[in-house]
Symmetry: C2
Subunit: 279 residues, 2 copies
Amino acid sequence: MSRKIEAPTVEILVIGNELLSGTTLDTNSHWLTKEVTQLGFIVKRKITIRDELDVISQTFKQMIGRRPGWIFSLGGLGPTFDDMTLRGLANALGRKMELNETAAKMLKERYRARSLLYGRKYARVTKASLKMATLPAGAIPLRNTRGSAPGVLIHHDGVRLISLPGVPREMKAIFREQVRPLLQSTPLRNERLERWLYVEGVTESRLAPKIDKTVKKYGERVYVKSHPFGFKKGKSVLKLQIIADSVNASGSKKLLDEVAERLTKSVSSLGGSAKWMKR
Amino acid sequence: MSRKIEAPTVEILVIGNELLSGTTLDTNSHWLTKEVTQLGFIVKRKITIRDELDVISQTFKQMIGRRPGWIFSLGGLGPTFDDMTLRGLANALGRKMELNETAAKMLKERYRARSLLYGRKYARVTKASLKMATLPAGAIPLRNTRGSAPGVLIHHDGVRLISLPGVPREMKAIFREQVRPLLQSTPLRNERLERWLYVEGVTESRLAPKIDKTVKKYGERVYVKSHPFGFKKGKSVLKLQIIADSVNASGSKKLLDEVAERLTKSVSSLGGSAKWMKR
């Protein structure tokens, strides 16, 4: 149990002015974070930037330089002038943009289906729509069953880059249908378990040194976070979140039990009480 | 109207493991983004990282290096071991951490008030609680009327750094009571106006080149984003968001009107229709 867990790491790049003006609440990256965490990956960093080509390309470069296992980008794959994620990515990788035949075929199929429903006017593949099939050289398009712009997968120097559209239903569909199976087939993942303790009668400040000591003892395998909930019936209320990481579930469960026992004793020694809670 | 708008720029650093595991949806930074945008500031970038001292300090350093007008950090000001925002900031600035007398006084007042309500046990200022009054040298504490950890303001090389706690009610109270008046007293701000056009009968791809041309004509002063809403009654539906920036409201309104007229003509020329919409 003493070996360090090298769980696969993820960075997320969120692109779009609307996310930096308070117009749109970014629930996309929250959803993605939850999904990949549940699959045993660890999101190390999330960066939100505007639709500016230089900034996109520099940020991709810096992300690749930190060498996470996976980089996800969200947004900026559409046909309009401000959709510039893939150009930024191509610049960062030193690759050319080129029409991807597979992606073009996906687009044409999608437009044909649309024209059957809504009329021939909608079958036209315009220059602006072909932009969505113009990808960095060597990219693998990921079929979008809910919209036009395909997702994109690129392998680069051991880092896997996945670009998904910003429209939530499209992003989720591509993730579920194409990306999740890929992540599930990754051999080394983290088995993370989480439990919560409900603590009464001890303030966060007084418990802090005890938590500190416990976490230091277990190193990177255990994470404890205290969430203060003010006072109820004259008693300080805290919820303690305990997260344990191990390469298998039984290891994580053993860690959780040990840490919960230690913390329950600490709480008692300070005159409070602790019990498991559902959440 | 041709001079470039140099609106004050903002970067936001969000700190906390819980925001990178899908546990907590980050509504704090969304709220802050909306507030500062409405006050005429432009959020250029938002970065979310884990509670890791080196990462915090490196990220602060990089942010300061980009020289925005303001840097906000959210989270990591509490008493526990994983609250390390201020240590990370002090490292980034090359300043020492020291007990701030004003902050210590704020804490003691807060604890005294708490003990009047809940008993003497809660009046004790422990070592862990004094951590919340230990700030980078030269920092100005910002009173927290809803919790223990004060906010922090630091002037450094022309950049203003503001650290706020992660608990939403505390973050919002400090912003409203202490930070907003500060931002409002900044002389040069941006007067941004926004309106929406409802467009029927033209797809995003076909309209894209026209939008592109309009936006290029107006440069940084105008931003147009098309939001596709699928098909209704056999017609493609788009909502066009037009944002205009100017140093005064009448300039922004004039821009909005001009751009809307151009786009309405473009839509007509493609066989569709456009009208103002409320939103």
